[in-house]
Symmetry: C2
Subunit: 473 residues, 2 copies
Amino acid sequence: MSDYIRKAKFPAILLVLYVLVPLAHAAPGQDTKPNIVLVLMDNFGYGEIGVYGGGVLRGAATPNIDGIAAEGFQLTNYNVEAECTPSRAALMTGRYGIRTRQRPDGPPRGIWYGITQWEITLAEMLSDNGYATGIFGKWHLGDTDGRLPTEQGFDEWYGIKHSSDRAFWPDSYSFAPDSHPDAVFDYVMTGFRGQKPTEIAVYDRAKRTMIDREITDAAIDFIQRKSRENQPFFAYLPYTQTHEPVEAHPDYRGKTGNGSFADVLAQTDAYVGELLDTIDELGLKEDTIFIFTSDNGREGVPRSFGFTGPWRGSMFSPYEGSLRVPFLIRWPEKIPAGQVSNEVVHQIDLFPTLANIVGIDLPNDRIMDGADQSNFLMGKSEKSARESVIIYIGNELFGVKWRNWKMLIKEIDENSYAINRLAYPSFYNLLVDPKEEVPELNYLNDTWVDFPLYQVIEDHEASIAGDSGAPDP
Amino acid sequence: MSDYIRKAKFPAILLVLYVLVPLAHAAPGQDTKPNIVLVLMDNFGYGEIGVYGGGVLRGAATPNIDGIAAEGFQLTNYNVEAECTPSRAALMTGRYGIRTRQRPDGPPRGIWYGITQWEITLAEMLSDNGYATGIFGKWHLGDTDGRLPTEQGFDEWYGIKHSSDRAFWPDSYSFAPDSHPDAVFDYVMTGFRGQKPTEIAVYDRAKRTMIDREITDAAIDFIQRKSRENQPFFAYLPYTQTHEPVEAHPDYRGKTGNGSFADVLAQTDAYVGELLDTIDELGLKEDTIFIFTSDNGREGVPRSFGFTGPWRGSMFSPYEGSLRVPFLIRWPEKIPAGQVSNEVVHQIDLFPTLANIVGIDLPNDRIMDGADQSNFLMGKSEKSARESVIIYIGNELFGVKWRNWKMLIKEIDENSYAINRLAYPSFYNLLVDPKEEVPELNYLNDTWVDFPLYQVIEDHEASIAGDSGAPDP
């Protein structure tokens, strides 16, 4: 078997290994329980942060977040699912969003209403291994009994069930409260494991400006408490910004003079700075993995004015502006400082990577799509443990990336979200044509890429065909 | 007069000052004659270099060029003319390309065939003040007697008269040598002040791959000679890459495995590294201003696969992908290290800035459009000395930038280069909508920008109306 086919098959081979045997852990994972702080932005594009070409160019410097890159590792080819719920499902489970689907043949509404109890979340894995787990922010992975975050592995929660579009409703002059039983306002919630969460306040436009401040405060309080208790912690901060409405806290409103998006960027950088300062002041810097990333690319223009940097398109598309988001990770003395890599990584890799670092066996009763990136991140390998990613929007397979190549079997009309099936696939060389401008031209010399690209899709489809889905409840 | 109008008028006011009196020089300019190395890429977009979001993302790391940013100042809003000849004219004279035009009402061909002897070039200014001056690379500012670089202030020259598109001709099976007396092959030239330059070799496809290597060698030889002679030097390196054809030197062909553009990027970074090493090894690091920049944005896709980073469009357009290019400047102990700024700067500023640093009076018999940026670059002011730039393509005024706003009175169809006049101008907020996607939406709240934007155009047009043009010969 030739080399490129073998490598293309790597994910499938790895899957088999995962299912059959618990993996031996890499040496660095032995006996370490670093704290983990995971900051996840919402609909936040690749280009916002200074080190990704934003910052002052967007009207607000981001020195604190840039500092994570300076002290850690910056990825320029970190891939995610194309929309909020599948992305959060993938991040929490180490499995492609498509595997956590609940009604593949059901009606359009509610396909993505979260993950079943059967799924093992990052929080459950860490909690089962001695971690204190807190979520501060947006869940969006289920709003029914048994599917709230404090029932999915988190000890405590401060935040919202759904998404920030509901913050428009209480202030809307045209909201119809009798329209449908599920069309209800969102509430800021608080809850603890084993207790029913309580509603604190309606999530309206005023609260929307405040919530990321409150999330930060709650997370800092959690970190300080767990530090005092000497318990390793997993603090998950799914911030609500920069989902629309993008409106800054009163402390930051108008602060940059460059509009609300820049104000929110300045605010976010300040909040991340507070988190970093908290870790540093508690003397936990060397014992804490700090990650800054996003769930998916920006919302579509003119709905919102996020910035994907050079990449084409917005979320809900198969283009790089949907799929590539910032990923910065800092773990002093373990992860070399100041590194930048364009190797292919996917958000599903975080689960097995953290499992290995902490020294936890992966579940062997389900397909894990993630690859362990601990050697790559810790500078022991220049190569990522993955060469390919599968691209979905909703339940539809759109294509595949393999190394610097991309094949789309469907494209999106970016104005209408119309799905265009293609009589012949589109091929992009993402190094030569990063903006995905000319699908055929760069492919003419390199039609050999058909083989590895199709192989990845075939392997994935075979794996999906053998996957009976996530059982209820 | 309100503050924003006053600031908008700043360039016009400055012009008057320049014309009336020699400016007092800032203190740092006294008695200093730093060496100057000016590397100018050809049709090289904003996004190619690592610190501008390229590097590994383009298939070739650029550690040497990135190092200039780490040790110096990186501009993210450095503006140029939209095409080669006016850009080089502006860079050499400190005046907008439109002022150096020779036949404003003439036929299309030849409008941009260079600058007259009457213009004062950067090389003439420095040469008149004790500098050794060498040009190594592409001139493109006149090919007739009296207009070659060794007649415009350079002591010596190694390079080409015209542009690299002519390198296709000797290898073309369809070239017609009898077509026109001016349709002749280009030659690699060498020449010295006071002598007629000589032709070394036909500039064909093979030579095209070699010439940037030769330019580097010739420049290094010049720098070493002038260092031995203890004479301050101005080494101008207008490289021929990445104008089409983009084909690497045999030493770099296939080196990255990522195609010819990436190979050329790796090659260019290595050559710049050799220049930096030469300066450092000669002990001249603190005495040398080292600049890396470009003449204009990438060529249009699918003609070439340059990368503008996030910016829209290509050269010959009024969009940021045409106008914004990389600008890195290093001068240890004078220019603070590691700075990044999105302040508006234009290539015409280099002439008065270097004049002030070296302590030279600006010419007072002509309009100088450039602003002295020495205080800004040396960290004495956070603000650029300019807030606005005028946008031309050829002899046509397209619009204006003022702070983060842009107004276009004409747009370009990017597929056809068709010029679209507009019944109502397009307004872009470049911080909120960096990709120039939605001209009206961000302007609705801020129609006050009409005043400063139109004021800049009116001042410029009044200045042009009073400018009799560059006299022959």
